[in-house]
């Protein structure tokens, strides 16, 4: 009979390691959210399936020859290749035109990173070590690849939870942002109209912009240069006008391929022993705080600016809330809210400008955190 024990070894292993069964449920929940609720399905579905895959009896996909471990070690741990390559695709998708024609919106891309730093402080007060607190704060970048890259470089123990939180809350932007904005604005402020008079933008500007931004980032925040550089490289491919096929490849097949493997690779960090602890729950809560305070940071900054602006140049504070990196979802949310308050108030292009500024702001924030972590000997 003992010859057939291989048929029951797996079941016996699972009984001993019952916490893996909880991870199956969590994996199932992520798959349900992806399919049924349409929550960032491209990432949450592979992560959910991966969570089940890495919580099966060894040596499955883990261990020296396990494919998920190999993907993690080579695709993320060694050089953060997956998140960076995804940035090439994201860069190729972004049209910086609305920002280049209305550069004032850059300020909101900066102000709306406040939630990151507020969350770091809160996480430290909750007892997280500084490197984990910094990684949790970056959930507020509303930028999955940046969150993954920073938490990996800081060797946070909560990388799996951080990735799940980053992508889950990004899907919840249409719920989180209106709530946060209403909390700190009056109806009258939400009804402020902003005429849109964009400047024309030359092709030379669009080509030089990604190159010079990379130079600025490289000189001021060297740790952000991989993130900014790959984002801007993708954008240069898009804007140069000579590489249409490469641009389409970066936006489509490259981004899709990386997305498939990024999700399942992140699941490496969702092994029951690493994932199931109080810290994970707190990280999820902190991620929500980060998103809320990012939005509030942008909105309050716009309100402060309004104190100094003439009556006819006032900014609708909701535009400040679009300065997060969740593109283009956040801009759409602001447009929808503006139309709800006043059906003739079109803020979309202003919000898109702030939103693409948020893309730059979030990677710069990630870079600054990594720079200071390096100085403090945390990475």
């Amino acid at each position: 009979m003992s010859d057939f024990s291989f048929l029951t070894d797996g079941a016996m292993y699972m009984i001993e390691h019952w916490n893996m069964l909880i991870m199956w449920l969590i994996g199932g929940l992520l798959i349900w959210l992806a399919i049924k609720k349409d929550f960032e399905p491209a990432l949450l579905l592979p992560m959910g399936f991966g969570a089940i895959l890495v919580n099966l009896p060894l040596p499955g996909v883990l261990g020296e020859n396990g494919i998920v471990q190999w993907l993690f070690e080579h695709g993320i741990e060694a050089s953060e290749a997956f998140p960076l390559l995804l940035f090439v695709g994201i860069g190729a998708m972004i049209d910086f035109g609305p920002l280049l024609s209305n550069p004032k919106m850059l300020l909101f891309g900066g102000a709306a990173q406040f939630g990151i730093f507020f969350t770091v402080l809160l996480a430290v007060l909750l007892g997280f070590p500084l490197k984990d607190a910094m990684s949790a704060g970056v959930i507020g970048a509303a930028d999955g690849p940046t969150s993954i890259l920073v938490s990996q470089q800081l060797q946070s123990n909560y990388m799996g939870a951080i990735a799940v939180a980053a992508y889950s809350y990004m899907a919840l932007v249409p719920i989180i942002q209106p709530m946060a904005i209403r909390l700190v604005t009056t109806r009258k402020e939400r009804q402020i109209r902003m005429p849109y008079n964009p400047q024309s933008v030359s092709r030379t500007t669009k080509i030089l912009f990604p190159i010079i931004v990379t130079l600025i980032a490289g000189l001021i925040a060297p740790s952000s240069v991989a993130l900014v550089g790959f984002l801007m490289f993708g954008n240069l491919i898009r804007e140069c006008g000579k590489l249409e096929t490469l641009s389409q490849t970066a936006q489509g097949p490259l981004a899709n391929l990386i997305t498939i493997f990024l999700g399942i690779t992140i699941a490496f960090q969702m092994q029951a022993d690493m994932f199931l602890n109080w810290g994970t729950l707190l990280i999820m809560a902190l991620g929500l705080v980060a998103f809320i305070f990012d939005t509030i940071g942008g909105v309050v900054f716009a309100k402060i600016l309004n104190l100094f602006l003439p009556k006819d140049k006032k900014i609708n504070p909701m535009v400040g809330g679009a300065g997060i990196s969740a593109f283009p979802m956040s801009a759409r949310v602001i447009q929808k809210m503006a139309l709800k308050e006043d059906n003739q108030n079109h803020l979309l292009m202003h919000a898109v400008g702030a939103n693409v500024a948020g893309q730059i702001g979030s990677v710069v924030a990630g870079g600054i955190i990594l720079s200071l972590a390096g100085i403090w000997g945390l990475s």
Partner: protein, 63 residues
Amino acid sequence: MKWMVMNLLAKAFDSALGPVQTEDIMKSLELMGKGMLGIFVVMVLIFILIFCLNRFTGNKKED
């Protein structure tokens, strides 16, 4: 005084994850200050860059 406040905060927030490090509170405040300042410096530089690019290449409007 500063350390007294930090110690008070550390005690108030002493959590299930372990004791709060007062040194980390200082560092996270420093990160907040330097981080927000750094982002605004980069954003202002990019603003100046866009202003210059639009000014010097604006006569070649193609879009």
